[in-house]
């Protein structure tokens, strides 16, 4: 472990990343790069964790170490990840902040650029803003507290609600699920812990902002949301990151538990810079008549492998996964969805839309399973791809394993291109070729965008318009 102070060298190499800026590293504690059982134990010790968590981390580390790389997605890109060059723990500010005024100034500057204070005034019901590895700012509005909603960063959640965390942590995504869930379990830091009591509706989207802000920094946040019977919550996360010359790894785990009659919607727009590996495991369990929705937008990163999934465990439960992926030059978005229909009368809907451009590659990887005992299930899968030039690529790998004959399955897939006549029509209405392309592209994403809170929708449309700039040859 080394201790280092503000490091202004980190200002270099911001590159041309459009939403990219970063403050001098203000880390008080930083581990040397590389991973070992000792590093894992050190992290746990530093956080003063209970022994069961330390042991879970160590087991997870061993599993990670032994487990081979996945054989799907993009193996040649995965091979390039150098786990030894990654720093697995970095803390920028000693304690979790509750009061905005106490947040260190350079960190506040970063948040200002992200618009957090404004957004909070308007419609946030609580904020966890993760700066580097740990939440530094955390506020819960009084009305949420009064309703008994717990909204903490994961580290505080473990300290303050150990029994609740012990009961649910890893119950949806066990560390042994895949190599990256094992890595996350071994070194996790930050993320959100949310509990919504019976019958409580968190009307306003709860939002968390976070960004990678240090060289070779891996972010391993861990989020756990429990919606008790008949409750509902809409959680929104979004991230942008500055470009660095060395590759970064983002490997999160998100676990959702919707108890009977509960409704969880989890919305994400990720815009990692083009050097980030975004390897995230997201899964939810829906009990009787519960509903889980993943609204998942992947715009940035070098390689994303992410398949939000839902286990429909209770009768009459419902799952929805709406996702978009944009792959530009050098990017591969391998995204999709997984649904397991374990109970009768369960329904699911998957809508996947991908755009590839400048040699980018988008792939849909989906699995929908109906178990033999699940009667009268309904499933609907729609995959649409839009390819903007000859160099770009789109693939679909849909799998349906239906072991009960009463299931009703629908599957549609389409691949389209932008036609000259479509562009001409829009240009005849005063739009430049780039603007016309942005209108078509944003229209293509609209079924996704309309599900987002207004601010996010506007931001996404702007991002896509920026991506279309300079694209006309």
């Amino acid at each position: 472990m080394v201790v280092n102070m503000a490091d202004s060298d980190a200002r270099e190499a911001v590159g041309d990343y459009k939403a990219g800026w970063h403050d001098p590293e203000n880390s008080t504690i930083r581990f040397d790069a590389g991973l070992s059982e000792k590093v894992v134990r050190d992290i746990s010790e530093l956080k003063n964790e209970p022994e069961w968590m330390t042991e879970m981390r160590v087991k997870a580390f061993k599993h990670f170490d032994e487990r081979p790389m996945p054989t799907w997605g993009n193996m040649s890109m995965l091979k390039q990840i150098d786990f030894e060059s990654i720093c697995y723990y970095l803390r920028s500010s000693k304690a979790t902040e509750n009061d905005w005024e106490d947040v260190p100034e350079d960190i506040r500057n970063t948040f200002d650029k992200l618009g957090i204070p404004d957004a909070e005034q308007k419609w946030l019901s609580g904020v966890t803003a993760q700066y580097e590895s740990e939440a530094v700012y955390h506020s819960i509005r009084e009305d949420l507290e009064k309703q008994g909603v717990i909204f903490l960063d994961m580290d505080s959640g473990l300290r303050e609600y150990e029994e609740l965390v012990k009961e649910w942590f890893g119950s949806v995504v066990p560390y042994s699920d895949n190599k990256f869930s094992a890595l996350n379990t071994a070194v996790w830091s930050g993320g959100s812990f949310i509990y919504v009591p019976k019958g409580v509706h968190v009307e306003l989207p709860v939002q968390a902002y976070f960004r990678i802000n240090a060289k070779n920094m891996g972010q391993f946040e861990r989020t756990l949301i429990i919606a008790d019977e008949g409750s509902s919550i809409h959680y929104v996360e979004g991230c942008t990151a500055p470009t660095y010359s060395t590759d970064s790894l983002h490997s999160a785990v998100v676990e959702l538990i919707a108890l009977p009659g509960a409704h969880i919607r989890y919305s994400t727009v990720q815009n990692w810079s083009a050097n980030v590996y975004n390897l995230v495991t997201k899964r939810g369990i829906a009990h009787e008549k519960a509903k889980i929705e993943w609204v998942d937008g992947n715009i940035g990163s070098k390689l994303t492998m992410k398949y939000p999934s839902v286990i429909l465990k209770g009768e009459g439960s419902h799952a929805e996964v709406i996702s978009v992926a944009y792959s530009g030059s050098g990017q591969h978005q391998d995204a999709g969805a997984k649904i397991h229909h374990l109970a009768s009368n369960t329904t699911s809907k998957i809508l996947s839309k991908s755009i590839s451009k400048d040699g980018g590659r988008g792939s849909y990887r989906g699995l929908v399973k109906v178990s033999p005992k699940a009667e009268n299930c309904k499933l609907n899968v729609v995959c649409d791809a839009l390819i903007l030039d000859e160099d770009s690529r789109s693939d679909t790998y849909p799998t349906m394993e239906v072991a009960n004959p009463t299931a009703r399955c629908e599957h549609e897939a389409s691949v389209s291109k932008v036609s000259d006549n479509q562009l001409f029509y829009l240009m005849s209405r005063g739009h430049s070729e780039e603007e016309a392309l942005a209108l078509i592209v944003n229209g293509f994403f609209e079924p996704f965008t309309r599900e987002l809170p207004m601010e996010y929708a506007v931001e996404l449309n702007k991002l896509m318009a920026l991506e279309m700039e300079g694209s006309i040859g």
């Binding site: 029509y425 829009l426 005849s428 209405r429 005063g430 430049s432 070729e433 078509i440 229209g443 609209e446």
Partner: protein, 254 residues
Amino acid sequence: MSKDLKLLNIQDLYACIDDTSILKGINLEIKPGEIHAIMGRNGSGKTTTANIIMGHPDYEVESGIVELNGENLLEMETWERAREGVFLSFQYPQSVPGLQVGNFLRKSVAAILGEEAAKGKEFRNKLKESMKELDIPSSFLGRYVNDGFSGGEKKRFEILQLMLMKPKLAILDETDSGLDIDGIRTVAKGINAAIRGTESGALIITHYSRILEHVKPDKIHVLISGKIVKTGGPELALELEERGYDWLEEGSED
């Protein structure tokens, strides 16, 4: 402004697509406030003429002049022509899934007439009024541009855009095709409202005399194989309806 100012001036226009020559010397002058019509069989070059005025990239102009109020349109990009005041009502309007009609109208009016023109009460009132005139329900604003529209809805939507964009030159490519009598009357009302009594002009491309009964063009041109072979007054439309085009064909005696 001189007396013989031309809104649209086309001189000796030759154009081809993939080395096939399609327009073979078109001459056409429209003065401010005038409505002209072009009639002709399928494949005679009507849409080609319209597309070339608007700047479709597939066509190559071999020679000739195309000017709007003395400005050379051929040097401008399509969107620049639109901002100069050229509007084309398409024979086959393109759909843009996911792009909402209301949003598209606002953005397009902003692109052509400026941000201010697309804001506030005035724009909303004009939009409401125009939609009412064209029998377009307000739910239309939430639909996607031309996506799943019926033939009639597409044509009405083109005219709605015409009314909002207030062009100097409106070109209507078979806007009457596929419309019933009421539809034709409604569309004609929209054209008259946008052009008559203004300094703007229109070029109506059609097969049928019916729309011309409602719009009363100043001149009618007959296009055959990429050439205007005859120009006349409104009475020419009825004559064409009765006699067809054969008598105008090269080599035929009249």
